[in-house]
Amino acid sequence: MLSVLGGIFLRRLSGLIAAIVVTMIVFTSINAFFLTPINLIGLVRSMSTFTIVAFGETLVLVSGELDLSVGATYGIAAMSFGLLWMHGTPLAVALVAGLLVGVLIGVINAWITTVIRVPSFITTLGMLSLVQGVSFLISNSQSINPPSKLAGYPVFEALGSLELPFGIPIQIAWLAVVAAIIAFLLHGTLFGFRLAAIGGNLQAARVAALPIRRYKFWVFAIAGACAALAGILDFSFIGSTTPNAGANLTFPVFAAVIIGGASLSGGRGTVLGTLIGAFFLSLLSNGLSLLGVGTFAQLIFVGLVTIGAVALDRWTTAWGGQTQSLQL
């Protein structure tokens, strides 16, 4: 798989890994707890859900579109799943319904973007607010805290609280499964190949008679499903949700995708990059909170790093000349 990925990606990736190593060394030297398995496993668990959302977003970005509504989709999926279950719907049905809500939002996004031709930035910006509103509507603006314990339900265990051998939480397994599926889709299939073509040059894709509209429906639907899955996983783990859950997801999701090397103008992006970008982001937050620097410093620092990663990339590209090979 890596053989088809070119130099830009490898350079970005090696840069990221170097940054991760440096960050780890710095944090460990200050606080020895940082590099313990407990901390690192907790770190990966905490990043697992937003990273799943970011994988869906990576597909959207590669296709040359944007989806700002994933945070709201995450929230409404968790809410519908929880409400349905509390009203006596069988768990499996509630689970499927929650996922379908995500797919439905994605399909509506795709329809407005490709059929009515409203730019996806505007479509999904509107959808972000709209879906949040619906979340408040269906929940009566109330958080839900199920009275009965989630423990004892195998479905909830499988989604949230099960512990695998070596103390690995189940979320990490979910993260790995989704990563593998999206990575295969993007890098191992004709679908991913054509998606990069569509995102790279829409006009040329039209000339080549690629199935642009159909693919974009798929991409938005998958992004919706990923966001919904993440919402359901978090509900199963935490055991409660609020109507505006997911409102803070937009930043980490986009930051991870962009630090991971995806291009906002389309045609470029990898699952491995997004994964490592998300890891780097979580590493910084985790390390900074271990140092006890306070939320404001965390926010400032993470913002700087996001801009810095792209600035650094521009800078190295300018010096590397035009000859690096691109994806495929």
């Binding site: 299939t189 054509r194 690629l210 045609g267 495929l328």
Partner: protein
């Protein structure tokens, strides 16, 4: 008198040495032509002179003093097919956008701007937004901006490849006027030999990153130039005199049939076409005649109604599978984020590059890419090279290659050799003939008569939305004959002739 000296300029991209110590001199009061095959380093030279790129070695002197990149950016005007201007602003407003113009208020045109506008005959369109103006107005606006900022070097890089004859005449008139001014240097880069010979005082032939020879005075002829250009390019010999060689014995199998084919905005009306196996039909027509729209509508990219049959099929999906379209502009035909091999195979699907379940078979993709690179003689280091690293002519081969890789029955191609040198032209003609000969058909849009003479069996002229009757190219004895015929076929004047 102002002189520009380029001394020992080198530039490499990765392992490709684009310029190997190129040297030349240009003086005010003359037009210096630059000719050369694709990949010879012309575009690199233009970018370096314009200050868009730094050379690895060598220097550029203006009047004997080093001319820095920063200074060049301000005082070199590059005029090409894609002027870098502001489409939403009017022509005048475009002139007023310049660095260091005084005051916080919205700037207004002064006497100087009005004078330049009238020198370039732009008064009539001065207050129109640029996006509603034709390409030549864009280019004249670019020239006007350069005149206003007192540019020293005017670099015309294939400026008229998308202009009509009248517009080209107009543009060259202005170029010759700039040449008369004492401190301005004019350089013209072109593939069109007759224009180089007609408008240039000296022509430098660039070959493999060096200045091969300079033609001047009595050596400055079209034939002489053609000879210099094909040095070391064996393929070019076949450029002339093989008209209509393709597929004479073709079976009478209609591959494209149009009847009552009419554009939604009436760019063309009631077009009827029958194109048989083995045939190459060229449609000519000036910009705005509806010829381009006709080709694009056949490919389903422009709205039109009427009967459209490709190999007997009318269903849009079936037609999509049977024809391949190549646009005139390579930037709308290629994927800049893809390698050469990925570009060549981008139109393929299951089973060519993917398994039955849609798994991408990269091994096959690269094998196919390599085969096409050999077949189309694309000059590349590796199939994994990004397509943007190729020269214009090689990019065009990739565009044609990716369309034919799909193995269509009908190839619809706009300006198959736009901005391409003689050797590459010959190779592309050969590929198209070969394609037709294998029982397929080619429908092309061209603007140059020699191309029609070399490539087509039949030609039809589109003027003002009407398609003329076909003309058998073989019945014309020479390019001049054909040009005369085509002029007669054009309604309302000899606009389509460009012999």
């Amino acid at each position: 008198m102002t002189t520009l000296e380029v001394r020992g300029v080198q530039k490499h991209y990765g392992e490709t040495q684009a310029l190997r110590g190129l040297a030349l001199t240009a003086r005010a009061g003359e037009v210096l032509g630059i000719a050369g095959p694709n990949g010879a380093g012309k575009s690199t030279l233009v970018r370096i002179l314009g200050g868009e790129e730094h050379p690895d070695a060598g220097e550029i002197l203006l009047d004997g003093a080093p001319w820095s990149v920063a200074d060049r950016r301000g005082s070199v005007a590059t005029v090409h097919q894609e002027p870098q201007l502001f489409p939403n602003l009017t022509v005048t407003e475009n002139l007023l956008l310049k660095r260091g113009s005084g005051g916080p208020l919205r700037p207004r045109a002064t006497g100087r701007e009005r004078q330049v506008l009238s020198e370039l005959n732009l008064q009539r369109v001065a207050d129109r937004p640029l996006e509603s103006c034709s390409l030549v107005v864009w280019q004249l606006t670019e020239i006007a901006r350069a005149l206003l900022r007192d540019a020293r070097l005017f670099l015309f890089d294939e400026p008229n490849s998308a202009l009509t004859d009248e517009e080209s005449e107009q543009l060259f008139g202005h170029i010759l006027r700039i040449k008369e001014q004492p401190n301005r240097i004019v350089i013209l880069v072109s593939h069109r030999l007759h224009e180089l010979v007609r408008y240039c005082d000296r022509i430098a032939v660039v070959r493999e990153g060096e200045c091969g020879v300079i033609l001047t005075g009595s050596t400055l002829t079209e034939q002489g130039l053609a000879r210099e250009l094909v040095v070391g390019q064996g393929a070019a010999a076949s450029v002339t005199g093989t008209a209509g060689a393709a597929g004479r014995s073709a079976v009478d199998d209609v591959l494209l049939k149009l009847a009552g084919w009419t554009h939604r905005q009436r760019r063309f009306r009631d077009v009827g076409v029958e194109l048989r196996q083995g045939e190459i039909l060229i449609v000519m027509g000036v910009e705005g005649s509806g010829a381009r729209e006709l080709l694009q509508s056949i490919a389903g990219l422009e709205p039109a109604h009427g009967i459209r049959e490709v190999a007997g099929r009318r269903n849009a999906d079936a037609i999509g599978a049977l024809l391949a379209y190549v646009p005139a502009d390579r930037r709308t035909g290629l994927f800049p984020n893809f390698s050469i091999a990925a570009n060549l195979t981008a139109r393929l699907g299951i089973p060519a590059v993917a398994s039955r379940w849609g798994r991408l078979l990269t091994g096959r993709l690269y094998a196919l890419g390599r085969r096409l690179i050999t077949q189309f003689q694309i000059k590349a280091r590796s199939p994994r090279q990004p397509v943007g690293a190729l020269s214009g002519g090689n990019q065009q081969k990739v565009a044609v290659g990716s369309a034919s890789a799909k193995q269509p029955r009908l190839l619809v191609i706009e300006e198959p050799t736009r901005g391409v040198d003689l050797g590459t032209k010959a190779e592309i003609y050969h590929q198209l003939r070969q394609f037709a000969h294998e029982g397929n058909a080619v429908l092309a849009y061209c603007t140059e008569v020699p191309e029609v003479f070399d490539l087509a069996q039949r030609v039809r002229v589109m003027s003002r939305g009407h398609l003329s009757e076909p003309f058998e190219v073989a019945t014309a004895g020479s390019v001049q004959d054909l040009a005369a015929q085509l002029a007669k076929m054009t309604e309302g004047g000899p606009a389509a002739s460009r012999a």
